[in-house]
Amino acid sequence: MSVDDLNQVKTAEILLELSDISVAHDQTPIIEHIDLTLHRGEIVTVIGPNGAGKSTLIKTALGIIRPDQGRVKRLGSLSVGYVPQTVTLDSALPLKVLRFLRLSSNAGRDELIHALSQVGADGSLDASMHILSSGELRRVLLARALLKKPDILILDEPTAGVDITGQAALYHLIQQIRDQYQCGVLLVSHDLHIVMAATDRVFCLNRHLCCSGAPEQVREHPEYLAIFGPQAPAEIGIYRHHHDHDHDLHGDVCDYG
């Protein structure tokens, strides 16, 4: 990313702003004092281990969970596209992809077909939701989000269970979507080291934000290049953590020294 691009991000409108967000469940804090902003055209990745509060953070950003403390400010009348990890449909409920997409969109058949082909799920329009593979289902969910012409796109673990080639393809797709819709993208991932190279900022979450920064290209790291080979996908980035503290088994902070 050039300096010009960086300046552009800085001056772009703020779509979503979380300030000093804390959420507790039964008096147990899940996330604490989170500050996070998402600008138009920006991609933000939140990484963290299991139980770090990633889902809670996403649901708070979506407005599904009301924070116990702090404020979620969203630019008025924004269209939000949300891509959950999966949809577990009861097998007693017959549902085709077409009907599923129509639940949240008034788009015509052609528009639905276009959205599906955009995410590489061609020909699934008349398929039953029950026979989709998890990868296909995720693409259908992505198409559903695109049909809303999102200003904000929020993805929950989009690459979970996807191999590195699939990850690169998915990251490429998300980047394309960002370019086309000029939306802000917020995605979370449990992978602590491999992130989307086009991410503008990475936040490491473990109940609170531990560190943040920009990812580096795989190609700049000989040790990763050794793993991925010379064909290392350009979409894959590496994130180097620079924590000034550690967490014990309970997730509590224990300072160095």
């Binding site: 979506l62 939000v80 949300y82 959950p84 007693a92 409920l93 017959p94 039953s128 559903r144």
Partner: protein, 277 residues
């Protein structure tokens, strides 16, 4: 023989039973689908158990039992939602407690009445053949109310059933919709208990819906088939009751379950046929 002639020769009580039964089958179809999709069959059973307490209260306070059944059902639904928030116990356990607690209190209340002026068996097993035009008006009124509200909340409710958070982002409140749905279910139980009785009421909700699943590829299609299967069960059940002199409520449920097993066999034969190609 024309239709009017047929109705003229038909005993009026049978006509009333047929109309009442068909109305209940039509109302039960969408509610039954929603119960099956949400795996709430056990909640339906709890409501029907709780209805006994409603009947007892109605007899004690000399109110229309339909109103007191409705009251108790709504109370149970609210209680369930409140207790679910604590999340220490699964809703399965909570429903088990609510169902049998209300059953116990209902039996206690009934035992306190020195003389039972009403045939309790009629409530437990239903007596569709004693249904009168006033009862049918209740069923029709409740059915219209349920249908109108369901049409209004159909899409939001379906969305929250598929994925609560996705629907939440679209601005649909799952808890509120759930409460409205439970209210509709309570109304249905209250107005239709006379047709098949409290013990069998849940079967009229879930058997047609489960049978319809085999033939359906969309939610609305399943609803249509459920209505058709329900109506067919009522007609054949009443026919069976007339010809074999069997109790009407159980006959309806028995016919419905036969349709279900036939559809099971039919769909597995169909699956076998496509596999062998």
């Amino acid at each position: 023989m024309t239709c009017t002639e047929m109705f003229a020769t038909m005993d009026e009580f049978l006509l009333r039973a047929l109309i009442g039964g068909i109305l209940v089958a039509l109302v039960s179809a969408p509610l039954g689908c929603l119960v099956v999709w949400q795996r709430m069959a056990y909640f339906g059973s709890t409501l029907s158990h709780a209805a006994l307490l409603g009947i007892a209260l109605g007899l004690l306070l000399e109110l229309d039992v339909r109103l007191t059944i409705l009251l108790v059902s709504v109370l149970i639904a609210l209680l369930l939602m409140v207790i679910q928030r604590f999340r220490t116990l699964s809703s399965d356990t909570i429903l088990g407690i609510l169902a049998h607690a209300s059953l116990a209190f209902g039996l206690l209340a009934l035992s306190m009445m020195p003389t039972l002026r009403v045939d309790l068996m009629a409530y437990l097993f239903g007596d569709i053949l004693t249904i009168n035009w006033q009862d049918i008006r209740w069923i029709a009124g409740g059915g219209i109310l349920i249908t109108v509200v369901l049409i209004k909340i159909w899409k939001p409710l379906l969305s929250t059933i598929i994925h609560a958070d996705l629907a939440g982002v679209d601005g649909y409140n799952r808890e509120r919709l759930q409460l409205v749905f439970l209210l509709l279910l309570s109304i249905a139980v209250a107005v239709s208990m006379q047709v098949v009785g409290l013990l069998l009421i849940v079967s009229l909700l879930i058997i047609p819906a489960a049978t319809a699943r085999m033939f359906s590829s969309s939610p609305e299609q399943m609803l249509g088939w459920a209505a058709a299967v329900g109506v067919l069960a009522v007609i054949s059940g009443l026919g069976m009751s007339m010809t074999l002199d069997t109790p009407a409520g159980p006959s309806i449920v028995a016919c419905g379950s036969v349709f279900f097993f036939l559809s099971l066999i039919g769909s597995s034969v169909g699956a076998f046929g496509t596999n062998s190609h």
